[in-house]
């Protein structure tokens, strides 16, 4: 955190000053470790084993915050007797289908609801990253579930959890993670001792967690701990995702993602959502509890915002115009399609996949096989110059004279040359004022897309093709100003906020959304950012003039709420759990919820409220159901649906690992998304042979002095001089083993590429004793590329493409490689070296990666081919580190 989010880290130091204990878990000793009270070096890719150990420690010693757990979680709920755990199936859950490499969730359901799930073969949920749709939109679980408040029932969630994590003992944690037992126990003790009624503990992660083939389950494990300890919805608690880009949160809220529409509404799927009603019902699940009950209004209002007058109840608000998904259209699928010549044109908008995405070589070869490429950026980044200055030029894989890609580079306006809002990592929108005009041809994306749309509509004006109606009928009349006819960002923000179609009055809350076309809302969760016709995101009331919640600085969605689910900061009766930790509470005299923050609850719904049998939507939430977006108003320790790779987290080895999974016969995530493409060779892992060809584990992350792919830091002398060269950090032990010298050269080889770097021999890295053997890990920054003031090989070139099944985020935080002293070969010799390793490791182009590695299913090794497809997900942050 100190490394990648230094200014955020000031609050950790603040807490430390007040006596908080800081633990840091990271494969390498970073600037954060230097300031932490305790640092735990861990084998990359084993966090679930560590966190699972903590879960076990909590349950075995009954250290959970029992009142909280009973009232606010599904711990007491009884699960179907059909459910079989990884304990019984050697690492698989019940319902696994080796053909599709995915799960049928029927057996995971609560007792008596086995027939309820809409989810059968989840292969298509995976391909359209739609698993978490059910977590965010709520799986249909009727209010009344069978519960055992004593938590003794063998099939209640509490007991199932206990059994599931039974084998995550301190010894096992040591065996898997390489963390000595004493160290682990110190962490477990501190965490539990500092949680409960009087104290809370916070959990902070970055993409060190998300960029894994089991990334979502990492975070699930964290949630389970924080929920058991009663740290959710309470001040000083929670799980904080430190995301890596100024508006990456906004990029998921108002997504430019293939499977999402603004406000986490799913992109329609050609098979599942033939009609507007089917689409809407798949979101709101008629009869279900919670705020998604209103989603018909949100959906209708979005389409109204898109197509204005042309969107009417009669034509389902133009639902028919929406493009339909048929499966995986994610960025990595796109790149492979580019290589296969299926994609004509590619827009890169302030993004540098040639350096920033996994498998840089595939990225660049894909770009080299387009008809045209549009790059909009501040600088000539690697992705704009791949045709003249990429590693593939040296190897002869790209020959400028033979590369047909037509490239348009359009200079972009910087953050001070345009106005608009960023949404930072705590969901807070902050408006930026414009300081100066952009230089020369530089323009904002707002300008580019507004005018691109204008030109397209002019060109199509005469068209009678039905396909063009969506463009021609688009509501696209934004006021412009200035010499460049810059569209008004405030006008767009108004549309995002939503307005009453008749009067144009900006809406104040998403509760005002209507499903009859009388309201238009660009992104329903942002409704309120323009409340009372005022740009709330532009508020800049000094922190000195308001309380510590600082509710009048910027605007946070939803409804300017700073802490989600904050109803949980009060007990079931609505009283603060403790005076020290009071945040939001029920005021009986005023008859309303009050506190420091905007209560995340219907303001006047008393704690004592119990819904009538037939209630649905928000009305079905009881006065003590704090988790208002959940189908049952409860926090889920066990997820009967929604998480595609299991109702509970399970440790799987990374897709590339030098180790056999010590916990189960199942080696890696059996539902991970893999691409079998000649260019995407995955290094062998046990039980496959030849894993010893790539004996070392490598992990990559950020340096404080650089930003992501370097486009905004290697171009700035102030930053470039602070970390001027690509390097690799190795432990003295590994240096001695391989014969590496400090500041000498080394090159690293994976099944995809070979890169070189200067060597830093440092005691900050250590070998780990894991399952009876020594594992060496090396660390690399991934900021370097071939352009800019300082250049170097790109660490991301080493990675293959394997994705988390829930959100289709690549595993780019851990891989296997070999490391050798000296510089890498150049030209064709470089390809020979990689080829030689591929031969030795047995990685032919048509290699099938074994998915199931346990014979519990009768030993059949199903290849990870996937079935047909479907929608959504909250994707997570690109880079930086755990």
């Amino acid at each position: 955190m100190a490394e990648a989010h230094p200014v955020g880290f000031q609050w950790v130091m603040e807490a430390k000053k007040r006596g908080a204990k800081v633990f840091h878990v990271d494969p390498r000793f970073t600037r954060t470790s230097a300031l932490a009270d305790t640092y735990l070096p861990i084998r990359a890719g084993t966090d679930i084993a560590l966190l699972g150990g903590v879960v076990r420690y909590i349950l075995d010693n009954e250290l959970d915050f029992r009142e909280y757990v009973l009232a606010y979680t599904n711990a007491a709920t009884i699960v179907s007797e059909k459910f079989a755990d990884t304990e019984d199936l050697d690492g698989l859950f019940s319902g696994y289908n080796p053909e599709t490499g995915s799960y049928d969730h029927a057996s995971w359901q609560y007792e008596g609801q086995e027939g309820n799930t809409t989810v059968r073969g989840t292969g298509k949920e995976r391909d359209s990253a739609s698993g978490l749709e059910h977590e965010s939109h709520g799986e249909p679980v009727p209010a009344q579930t069978r519960r055992d408040e004593t938590l003794r029932h063998p099939r209640c969630v509490y007991q199932i959890l206990k059994r599931h994590f039974a084998r995550y003992t301190p010894e096992m944690v040591a065996r898997v993670c390489g963390i000595p037992e004493e160290k682990f126990l110190e962490l477990a003790r501190a965490w539990t001792e500092n949680s409960g009624r009087e104290r809370t503990g916070a959990l902070v992660y970055s993409v060190g967690w998300t960029q894994h083939s089991v990334g979502v389950q990492y975070i699930r494990t964290g949630s389970i701990i924080q929920t058991l300890l009663g740290n959710m919805g309470r001040p000083g608690g929670g799980i904080l995702a430190l995301r890596g880009h100024a508006s990456i949160q906004g990029s998921t809220d108002i997504p430019t993602l293939f499977n999402l529409l603004p406000g986490y509404l799913p992109m329609p799927h050609h098979a599942d959502h033939p009609t507007f009603d089917k689409w809407v019902d798949s979101i709101r699940h008629p009869g279900q509890k919670g705020f998604w009950g209103n989603s018909r209004a949100f959906a209708a209002s979005l389409l109204k915002a898109y197509w204005g007058d042309a969107a009417t109840p009669e034509n389902d608000f133009g639902y028919g115009w929406l493009p339909r998904m048929t499966g995986d259209h994610g960025t990595y699928q796109q790149v492979l399609n580019m290589i296969d010549g299926k994609v004509k044109g590619y827009f890169l908008l302030g993004q540098n996949p040639a350096v920033g995405s996994a498998h840089g070589r595939a990225q660049r070869l894909g770009m080299a096989n387009l008809d045209w490429l549009v790059v909009r950026d501040l600088f000539l980044i690697e992705s704009a110059t791949f045709w003249k200055n990429s590693p593939e030029i040296a190897t002869g894989e790209i020959v400028p004279e033979e590369c047909r890609t037509e490239v348009f580079f359009l200079p972009a306006a910087s953050h001070v040359e345009k106005e608009g809002t960023f949404t930072q990592t705590q969901r807070m929108l902050q408006w930026r004022e414009k300081a100066v005009n952009p230089p020369g041809d530089a323009r904002s994306e707002l300008w580019f897309f507004y005018h691109l749309g204008r030109v397209l509509r002019e060109k199509l004006a005469a068209s009678t093709k039905p396909r063009d109606r969506a463009l021609l009928d688009l509501a696209w009349d934004y006021p412009t100003h200035g010499a460049h006819a810059e569209p008004s960002a405030e006008a767009v923000l108004r549309e995002i906020n939503g307005f009453d179609v008749a009067t144009g009055r900006p809406l104040n809350a998403f509760a005002e959304a209507k499903d009859d076309g009388s309201t238009a809302i660009g992104c329903w969760i942002y409704t309120g950012v323009y409340a009372d016709g005022v740009n709330q995101a532009a508020r800049r009331k000094s922190r000195h003039e308001q309380d510590w919640v600082a509710a009048e600085w910027g605007w946070a969605w939803p409804a300017n709420r700073r802490t989600l689910y904050n109803r949980a900061s009060a007990d079931p009766e609505g009283r603060p759990w403790s005076e020290r930790k009071k945040y939001v509470w029920w005021d009986p005299d005023a008859g309303e919820w009050t506190g420091y923050d905007v209560p995340d609850f219907e303001k006047t719904k008393p704690p004592s409220y119990r819904p009538p049998e037939d209630a649905s939507g928000p009305a079905a939430l009881a006065g003590d159901d704090p988790f208002v977006m959940q189908g049952d108003g409860k926090a889920w320790l066990y997820a009967p649906s929604g998480v595609l790779d299991g109702p509970m987290p399970t440790h799987y080895e990374p897709a590339e690992s030098p180790m056999r999974n010590p916990l189960y016969g199942q080696q890696a995530n059996p539902t991970r998304k893999i691409y079998e493409h000649p260019i995407n060779r995955i290094n062998p892992s046990p039980p496959e042979p030849h894993s010893e060809v790539f004996p070392y584990v490598f992990t990559v992350s950020r340096l404080t002095e650089h930003h992501t792919a370097g486009g905004m830091s290697r171009t700035v002398p102030r930053l470039a001089e602070l970390q001027p060269e690509m390097f690799v950090e190795v432990s003295p032990e590994l240096a001695a083993e391989v014969g590496l010298a400090h500041l000498g050269w080394a090159h690293l080889i994976s099944g995809r590429a070979v890169i070189e770097a200067r060597v830093l021999v440092t005691d900050r890295l250590t070998p780990l004793r894991v399952d009876g053997r020594i594992i060496h890990q090396v660390w690399l920054p991934y900021h370097f590329g071939s352009e800019g003031l300082v250049t170097g090989d790109s660490a991301n070139d080493l990675f293959g493409i394997t994705l988390d099944p829930n959100v289709l985020i690549q595993e780019s935080k851990v891989g296997t490689c070999d490391i050798r002293s000296g510089r890498r070969p150049t030209g064709p010799a470089l390809l020979d070296l990689v080829g030689d390793y591929q031969r030795r490791a047995g990685m032919p182009p048509d290699r099938k990666v074994p998915i199931v590695t346990t014979d519990v299913l009768g030993g059949e090794n199903a290849a990870g081919s996937t079935d047909e497809q479907t929608p959504e997900a909250a994707a997570r942050d690109g880079e930086d580190h755990a």
Partner: protein, 348 residues
């Protein structure tokens, strides 16, 4: 009239430099125990003061690629990797199969030899491998690093302990500033805030200040010939603003304010750290009775000053200036006498 302590001893420098009704003396307190080594100070300083870059070479001095305070780096963040206990923290590598503690010393020894063109003179001279190694391992280190491969050196059997020291160095703005006193043009002068500033419109690059500074701070910019160093953002102070580095510092490692307040705050901080089991915490440059009359920019350190590249006990050269003039006078008289004798005495 000049103060009795004009050349040595406790002194409030601004009035002594002729500032009547001077504001309270302002300064820096840099608390290295909360420094995260982010280098925001280096960048913020360069942005505000328009300081040129100081070389694009990987120095191999841990994460320090700046190397030293120079005319082109007015803040410098030092990084020291030591396989040594860090206060109350659990040993980071306890129980790990680590080898002998020779990684840091050996790497430091290599780092000692690197160089980069800082664009300044003398800039960043290379160092002595042995004392570099010693910095990274402490007195127990024996033998020449680099003589044996990393990880095979002498020292503890395994390095369970480890700490990473970071410290943002800067001009000390001494109470008795030798650079200022020896400056023949009055380019270096004492501001009303008690700080020491080079006036770029006056400096003629005589270089005297560079030899006079006991901390090795001030330095000469090659292409321009003048001497440059931290001004404690004199222009910002005039506008009632905080110096750029202190304003940027994310963790309040760099604190700016009236020196008296800072000294109290620092004393309390040391006390707190001692309570919390960090006995190695000590102040540096805070004492008005030290060799330079106390620094306007002082530090909380976690190891001996020399480990951070600071002189252990600097004394301002002008302490002895009266003596020097006396000696020169005597020598001059001797010269005259000798001449007279040579001409009047003797025959031929």
């Amino acid at each position: 009239m000049p103060d009795a302590n004009s050349l040595y001893g406790p002194l409030d420098p601004a009035p002594d430099a002729g500032w009547e009704a001077a504001p309270p003396r302002m300064g820096f307190f840099t608390d290295t125990s909360v420094c995260i080594g982010c280098k925001a100070c280096e960048v913020a300083c360069k942005e505000w003061n328009g300081v040129p870059d100081s070389g694009f070479d990987l120095l191999g001095m841990s994460y320090d690629n700046t190397g030293a305070l120079t005319a082109n780096s007015w803040r410098h963040v030092a990084f020291i990797e030591q396989p040594r206990p860090a206060g109350h923290r659990t040993p980071p590598f306890a129980g790990d199969p680590t080898g002998p503690a020779a990684g840091s010393p050996a790497s430091a020894a290599v780092g000692a030899g690197t160089a980069t063109d800082t664009g300044t003179n003398p800039g960043l001279p290379p160092g002595r491998p042995e004392s570099a190694a010693r910095m990274s391992t402490g007195p127990e280190f024996l033998g020449m690093p680099g003589a044996q491969p990393p990880g095979r050196g002498a020292g503890a059997e395994s390095r369970s302990d480890f700490r990473w020291l970071m410290m943002s160095d800067v001009c000390k703005h001494c109470t008795h500033a030798a650079c200022l006193d020896v400056c023949p043009t009055g380019s270096l002068f004492r501001t009303e805030f008690g700080t020491v500033v080079v006036q770029e419109d006056i400096c003629n690059g005589c270089g005297y200040c560079i030899s006079a500074c006991p901390y090795g701070v001030i330095d000469q910019r090659k292409d321009d010939g003048r001497a440059w160093k931290c001004t404690l953002c004199y222009d910002r102070l005039g506008a009632g603003m905080t110096p750029a580095c202190a304003q940027a510092c994310p963790t309040e490692s760099i604190q700016y304010g009236p020196l008296d307040e800072l000294r109290d705050r620092a004393a309390q901080r040391v006390a707190t750290l001692h309570e919390r089991g960090v006995p190695e915490a000590r102040l540096y440059g805070h004492d008005p009775t030290d060799g330079v009359g106390g620094d306007g920019a002082f530090f909380l350190l976690l190891d001996e000053p020399e480990v951070y590249g600071l002189p252990p006990d600097p004394v301002v050269t002008t302490r002895d200036l009266p003596q020097m003039w006396k000696r020169a006078g005597l020598a001059a008289l001797a010269m005259a006498a000798a001449t007279v004798a040579a001409f009047v005495g003797g025959s031929s």
